[in-house]
């Protein structure tokens, strides 16, 4: 499961076959059922981005965030958990043709898409001055009047402003969020794949539920299965935690041992080709016990809230509608995002804590948006946590995560 199989690159590499030499023998797909045309996907994403640059009057853009660099170029840099300090990873200068420059973590061309030529990537540098010198030599950049950034730091601002004294610096993460939210068909395929990986991995953790195992053991089982399926990059590293009656959801996985009858929240997410699949379930660790009537009632309330929110995942609705449905269904005061967009990772909240009514109303849903709906129903019986992905279609919302609800729904 790699974005670039040997055959693919040999046939599409316009620079000769000598550039990609490291052995890369895997089993990406069968030849008669090619799942994703990654080159077509990369080109479509870049076209969208260049159109957005035109619309915002941007002459150049610097991206420090992996997801944006990936959207624009398809580059697969070394993935790390946590956000990194801002360092430009990708530079695009609008022109005919546009110039795309990549800062690669490795010196190798291996993870650079073929359409970014071998002269347009350079290995990571530890001296920002060397990076600035490299940028100054990029054709057209010195003439740029309006330069976009998806983030910045005082250090880089202090060096880039003198290098481009006449340019206006503008934040463009809002533009990236907007173009990334509505998915291309190939992106949906990637998200479906990631969701299937996440489901399979979560179920591998569920299958380990028994008294005496630790929360950490469940996380280990989740990540073991995820890697076995071909990706070691996680969207959410996972919350595997016993629910204590009346207490808030604990996000941190510990070495606490499970006991018979514990309710356990299990949440995890995988990235495949950069795209996210995430889900969460609440399961009962029961050998001799089964969920109580009160616990099943909690699940039914959780289900009511999530169904009401999911039903808002339709074209023309907004985060405001999501919030209203959540409140009407008795969701109470949210302690986490009610709904958020998913694509190349998390793509921003649609409704939830910290958002004004105006901001929620500005989060428009349309066909092609993928929405994660999640809710924790707290109560004295233990609570219920769950999350699912929904695709907004011209008709009814489509649930992309298909794993069943588990023992709490028994008898539903």
């Amino acid at each position: 499961m790699t974005e670039t199989t040997t055959t693919d690159t040999l046939e599409t590499d316009p620079f000769g076959t000598g550039l990609l030499g490291t052995p890369n023998l895997g089993t990406g797909a069968l030849e008669h059922r090619e799942r994703v045309d990654f080159r077509r996907l990369r080109e479509a994403r870049l076209r969208r981005f260049l159109r957005a640059m035109d619309e915002r009057g941007l002459d150049a853009c610097f991206f420090g965030r992996e997801a944006n660099a990936r959207y624009v170029t398809g580059v697969r840099r070394l993935w790390t958990a946590q956000s990194r300090p801002f360092v430009p990873a990708c530079l695009v200068v609008r022109g005919a043709p546009p110039v795309v420059e990549l800062l690669a973590f490795s010196a190798s061309y291996e993870d650079i898409p073929a359409e970014v030529g071998p002269d347009h990537f350079y290995p990571v540098t530890w001296n920002p001055m060397n990076l600035i010198e490299r940028f100054r030599a990029v054709p057209g950049l010195l003439d740029a009047r309006r330069i976009g950034f998806d983030g910045l730091s005082p250090l880089f601002e202090g060096m880039l402003r003198p290098a481009f004294p006449d340019a206006e610096f503008v934040g463009v993460e809002d533009t990236m969020r907007a173009i990334r939210r509505v998915k291309l068909p190939d992106e949906i395929t990637c998200i479906r794949t990631a969701a299937a990986i996440a489901e399979s991995s979560l179920y591998a953790a569920i299958a380990e539920l028994r008294p005496g195992v630790t929360e950490q053991h469940l996380r280990a089982a989740f990540l073991d299965r995820m890697c076995e399926l071909g990706t070691s990059q996680f969207a959410q590293q996972g919350t595997f935690s016993v629910l204590d009656p009346g207490a808030p959801l604990r996000w941190t996985t510990t070495d606490r041992e499970l006991r018979d009858g514990d309710l356990v929240a299990l949440a995890g997410g995988a990235l495949w080709a950069g795209y996210e699949g995430s889900l969460a379930r609440t399961w009962c660790c029961g050998i001799s016990t089964s969920p109580s009537a009160a616990q099943r009632a909690t699940y039914a309330r959780w289900r009511g809230v999530v169904d009401a929110v999911a039903d808002q995942c339709r074209p023309g609705r907004t985060g405001g509608d999501v919030r209203a449905a959540f409140e009407r269904a008795g969701g109470g005061r949210p302690t986490m995002s009610i709904a958020y967009a998913v694509g190349l990772g998390h793509e921003g909240p649609i409704a939830g804590p910290g958002m004004s009514p105006e901001l929620e109303r500005a989060q428009a849903l349309e066909a092609g948006v993928v929405v994660a709906v999640r809710h924790f129903e707290a109560d004295a019986a233990g609570g219920c946590f769950g999350e699912d992905l929904f695709l907004v279609t011209p008709g009814d919302p489509e649930r992309l995560t298909t794993l069943g609800p588990g023992p709490l729904a028994a008898g539903d």
């Binding site: 030499g21 790390t80 010196a107 610096f169 995820m226 959410q236």
Partner: protein, 399 residues
């Protein structure tokens, strides 16, 4: 493989108090009235924790920490109140500020004015997109500065508790690796090695895996491998489902965290039913030993990072990959200041004097094109009279 029973004696309350004192001293040196911390590792240093997820999830579920020169406990805006320790008063803890939206940045500016009234110099470590070009207007009359001047100065020398955290993180990482090294046999795939590694580190109690595990398949000459930008070894290559086969030279590189502190593990291995380096590869390893021993002999308080680079260069003029370095600091980030022997230059290296409590990862590489080479990462802590090794893993199959 019990996750319990071998956790080190770390006094976490003391560690937090000592870090905050160092941070506040560094703020005073720089004349900062307040620092606004957005980067997760700086927040960790200030004592505030969060789940280490994919970067985009962290951007959209942001934690904000403000440390003021006047107060003691930090102010926190977080979706994860469980990551705030007991020594932060409840009235300092608030719901999240959405820094990816203008309204969240405006709320942050109001919050800063409230918790640091009259502040004249406020330092940020990072800017989110809606802050670009807008912060000066929102923080009227406030001079903006670079918070990493203070966090960098505070973080470069570790407390005894921080060193114990790094030691334990490294212990977990190394213990997880014995199974991986045993599994490195012909026909295994890179993703299968990652599965073994991640399963083990969490069974052993890791807080997080921090980089996509690297099992970099390394052809014996640069020309045999994929094109590189600098004619140096193409390392590290991101892992995928590729098969590793008989006699492949594999450079591993992994990192995890334990309670916010990073490990760093790198070794050179051979994939084989009977792993045996060639005579030329043994020579590379022998030279690598000479390099690391020469560096070790130089490590003591008062020496400079430049001295370390000169010691390595005296044995092997090119002792590091061109796009990396002889070494780097390790703490709340796996690669942090000081960078030693990087393209910052020897004059920079000479400005950094070794002080007890500094922790470095040394990662020299000896390469003979056509033969292959040797790379290993060694974590050392500078002590009052020399250094202590925090890495204990052996050098199979080279020794």
């Amino acid at each position: 493989m019990s996750p319990r029973g071998d956790t080190p004696a770390v006094d976490f309350a003391r560690m937090r108090a000592e870090r905050r004192r160092r941070l506040r001293e560094a703020m005073a040196t720089n004349g900062f009235d307040a620092v606004v911390l957005i980067g997760p590792s700086n927040q960790e240093y200030a004592g505030i924790r969060q789940p280490p997820n994919d970067a985009m999830r962290m951007h959209h579920e942001p934690v904000v920490v403000v440390v003021t020169a006047a107060g003691d406990a930090p102010f926190v805006w977080t979706p994860f109140p469980e990551g705030v320790p007991d020594d932060v008063p409840a009235e300092h803890v608030h719901g999240p500020l959405l820094l990816e939206f203008p309204e969240g940045v405006e709320a942050l500016a109001r919050a800063v004015a409230e918790v640091a009234p009259g502040a004249r110099r406020v330092a940020f470590d990072e800017y989110t997109s809606p802050m670009i070009g807008t912060l000066p207007g929102l923080l009227d009359g406030v001079e903006l500065a670079d918070a990493t001047l203070a966090t960098g100065a505070a973080r470069i020398v570790k407390t005894r508790d921080e060193i114990e955290c790094i030691r334990h993180a490294q212990h977990i990482n190394e213990t997880a690796m014995y199974d991986v090294e045993a599994a490195l046999r012909p026909g295994v795939r890179q993703n299968e090695l990652s599965a073994i590694f991640l399963r083990n580190v969490f069974e052993l109690g890791a807080s997080s895996s921090i980089i996509d595990p690297i099992w970099s398949l390394t052809p014996l000459s640069v020309a045999e491998g994929t094109h590189t930008a600098n004619a140096d070894v193409g390392f590290p290559l991101a892992s995928n489902d590729r098969f590793l086969r008989e006699d492949d030279l594999v450079l591993s590189d992994t990192g995890i965290t334990w309670m916010g502190y990073h490990s760093d593990f790198g070794k050179t291995w051979i994939c084989s039913v009977d792993p045996k380096p060639t005579a030329g590869q043994r020579d590379c390893y022998a030279r690598w030993r000479e390099v690391i021993d020469a560096v070790y002999a130089t490590i003591k308080p008062g020496a400079t990072c430049g001295d370390l680079v000169r010691a390595a260069a005296a044995v092997e003029p090119k002792h590091a990959l061109e796009h990396f370095y002889l070494g780097h600091g390790c703490g709340c980030d796996s690669g942090e200041a000081p960078f030693i022997g990087s393209d910052l230059g020897i004059a920079f290296d000479d400005t950094v004097e070794l002080v007890p409590g500094m922790v470095f990862v040394l990662e020299p590489v000896v390469w003979r094109d056509g033969v292959g080479g040797y790379r290993s990462e060694e974590i050392v802590a500078v002590t009052d009279d020399g250094f202590e090794k925090l890495t204990t893993y052996g050098y199979t199959p080279f020794e």
